[in-house]
């Protein structure tokens, strides 16, 4: 058993990169035509776990809840984290879950399958659902201290505490970088701006060693993969999936076009003459009608 056990929660999400994403003519996402990948925030969380591996020799388990195809997200996360284990929680009974019912599955899995977890990582939020609720709700159910918007962290292995920097933006005021200290176990939702940095030669060598290992492992990721259904996890069927979800999606509609708030003058983009007038207007509204 390693001195530090890390779990990473990831999600398979639509790939929003150009060429892979497909939009309907009305501007909405065409899910059928859009590929799925490891979500970008999940990728950042995986790299934060990799940091723990390099610095503290952590054992890393990557976890996701989803359909069988979600194992590709685990594979991509393994490449980024050199995970020792991949856990897929997959069962029809989990389908249709809202964040509370998803958190219930993740909590049960992490506490039963992963055993003693010291740090659980999640991304900031999924790029499709964008609620950012599943992480903190899983943390609360696990009884772990939740630290959100973490941009940097280190672990004091002696005192078993985490020090983390958090970036918080206070609307109408300013941004704050807060430094906090908390005893393990903690749940860290990693900020999108997080970048693992390896400063010493020995860290960089370790990094390279594990990176190579990660590539090998990810090629044979199925060897590391364990799939669990609801019964194997021992979840309460009333607390997961649709029965365990307090919320439902009642309807989905196109957002009605707002009443025009301005009356646009249409200018032909190929007409120099008209663009000259636009340029003059731009300087005018900027308050610079000072002719030399």
């Amino acid at each position: 058993m390693a001195d530090l056990n890390v779990a990473v929660i990831v999600k398979l999400e639509p790939d929003f990169s150009e060429g892979n994403v497909s939009y309907n003519t009305d501007g909405t996402l065409n899910r059928a035509e859009t590929k799925s990948i490891l979500g970008p925030h999940s990728a950042v969380a995986s790299s934060a776990a990799f940091y723990a591996k390099v610095l503290y020799g952590a054992r890393v388990a990557v976890t996701t809840m989803g359909p069988p195809i979600a194992d590709t997200a685990l594979q991509q996360a393994q490449l980024l984290s050199d995970a020792d284990e991949l856990h897929l929680y997959s069962d029809r009974m989990f389908a249709g879950a809202d964040t509370l019912a998803t958190a219930e599955v993740l909590k049960t899995g992490i506490s039963k399958v992963d055993g003693k977890t010291d740090i659980a990582f999640s991304g900031h939020r999924a790029s499709d659902g964008e609620t950012g609720q599943t992480g903190p709700q899983t943390a609360w159910k696990l009884g772990f201290t939740f630290l959100g918007n973490v941009i940097d962290y280190y672990v004091d292995m002696q005192s078993r505490t985490v020090r983390a920097k958090r970036l918080i933006s206070l609307q109408g005021f300013y941004d704050v970088i807060e430094e906090v200290e908390a005893p393990l176990p903690v749940f860290i939702a990693i900020d999108p701006s997080y970048r693992a940095s390896f400063n010493t030669v020995s860290q960089r060598l370790t990094f390279e060693k594990y990176q190579k290992e990660a590539r090998d492992r990810a090629q044979n990721y199925k060897q590391y993969l364990k799939v669990f259904n609801g019964q194997q996890l021992g979840v309460d069927p009333k607390l997961v999936g649709l029965p365990g979800s307090p919320t439902i999606v009642y309807k989905v509609e196109k957002i009605p076009k707002a009443k025009a708030s301005r009356k646009a003058q249409v200018v032909e983009g190929s007409s120099r003459e008209q663009l000259a007038k636009v340029a003059a207007k731009m300087y005018e509204v900027l308050g610079g009608i000072v002719i030399k």
Binding site: E18, R262, V278, A279
Partner: protein, 391 residues
């Protein structure tokens, strides 16, 4: 009744409310005025405040629409910490003795509705509080309606039509900005899985709802709550707190030039042009939300300088109000419009005249940005010697 009132969790910095707190109170006031009239009820808008020395703020919250304020005052609550705040808010939300102080109606168990802010703090706090209260939460809401709804749901009602009274319809725009999803938090009435889910809770996007006008003649009840916590609840220590200014500065600039997915045909070159245009106008560069997800492959420098959340304009980013706003290759999803509608003068560059941005701009330049911006830049440079921008 077991479930009563609308609780609004207030965020503040050193006793000064964040704008979203007053916006939530404004919307809460409007909703509950309508609710009380329609159902001949007398349920309250209750502000919940945690902090150190916050009594003065409490009075102000009454002036901004709260009927009652429950506050917990302690040096331990000076700065927000998820763990302890979740505990204290959950204690307040389930305390009948507190509710009886501002409402004579007996039977209170939990709030009927609950609002949080959809910002860094409130998004996480709402999640943990609702996990503790074991009820439903919708995030990033920008429209709310209270209605009696007939629901027929496989699980909630076992497929039978049933009326859910006084249901909060929570509208959330999806990531594309073109779809509205309505979320409901409903009790399970299916006998096999019967369970009550209250409060019906949501986090609200900052900058969407209007606060009501401050009225110092308004009266309400201020209730002091002595929070209970032990050493374990205080295990997160704040060691340092540093105020930082973003490197991206919209507020002191008179012009903002933003770009969106319209850069797609030659992303690298187009971003360079947008940056040149911003420089010419002495403005800052903004982006639409999809750009911060880095949908295009560009050089690392371009990506880390421009395709970042810090530059996002809209409900998921900053609100700006420059004298001049230029939207290049931006279709004008609702979330983006919310971030720039206060601008003095808006110029859009877009090949598609059906884009929603056309209704939000003063000049619509029809054309692709790669064709338009070089010509426009040329004209701006030509005219620059004769015209000087006042600082």
């Amino acid at each position: 009744m077991k479930y009563q009132h609308l609780y609004v969790v207030i965020e503040h910095e050193d006793g000064k409310p964040l704008p979203v707190s007053l916006e939530m109170l404004g919307e809460a006031r409007r909703l509950m005025d309508g609710y009380n009239k329609r159902y001949s009820a007398d349920e309250k808008v209750v502000a919940v405040v945690l902090g150190n020395d916050v009594h003065r703020l409490c009075e102000d919250l009454i002036f901004y629409g709260a009927d009652a304020v429950i506050y917990a005052d302690s040096p331990e609550l000076l700065h927000t910490r998820n763990l302890i705040d979740t505990k204290v808010i959950s204690q307040i939300a389930t305390n009948k003795e507190l509710a009886i102080k501002f409402s004579g109606a007996p039977g209170f168990v939990k709030p009927r509705y609950m609002f949080f802010s959809a910002d860094n703090v409130g998004r996480q706090l709402s999640s943990t509080v609702l996990a503790e209260l074991e009820s439903g939460l919708a995030s990033d809401i920008n429209k709310l309606v209270i209605e009696d709804l007939e629901i027929k749901h496989q699980h909630k009602t076992r497929g039978e039509p049933m009326i859910y009274e006084r249901t909060l319809e929570m509208y959330r725009p999806d990531f594309s900005g073109f779809l509205w999803t309505t979320i409901l938090c409903l009790d399970n009435r299916n006998p096999e899985i019967e369970r009550e889910y209250h409060p019906q809770a949501c986090s609200i996007i900052p900058g969407v709802f209007a606060p009501i006008e401050r009225d110092s003649a308004r009266r309400g009840t201020i209730v002091d709550y002595a929070p209970k916590f032990d050493g374990r609840d205080l295990r997160v220590k704040i060691i340092g707190r540093k105020i930082v200014k973003s490197a991206v500065d919209f507020d002191s600039k008179k012009a903002v030039v933003s770009f969106g997915r319209g850069i797609k045909d030659s992303p690298e070159e187009n971003i360079k042009m947008v940056a040149a245009l911003a420089k010419q106008l002495e403005g800052e560069v903004g982006v639409s939300l999809p750009i911060s997800k880095k949908p295009f492959v560009v050089s690392e420098g371009m990506s880390s300088t421009y395709m970042i959340p810090d530059r996002v304009i809209g409900t998921s980013g900053r609100k700006v109000a420059p004298l001049l706003y230029v939207a290049a290759g931006i279709s004008g999803a609702m979330q983006h419009i919310a971030g720039m509608k206060e601008a003095g003068f808006v110029v859009a560059i877009n090949p598609d005249e059906d884009s929603p941005i056309k209704d939000e701009c003063d000049i619509f330049i029809r054309g692709r940005m790669e064709d338009v911006i070089p010509l426009l830049l040329e004209e701006l440079r030509k005219q620059k010697p004769a015209i000087e921008v006042k600082k």
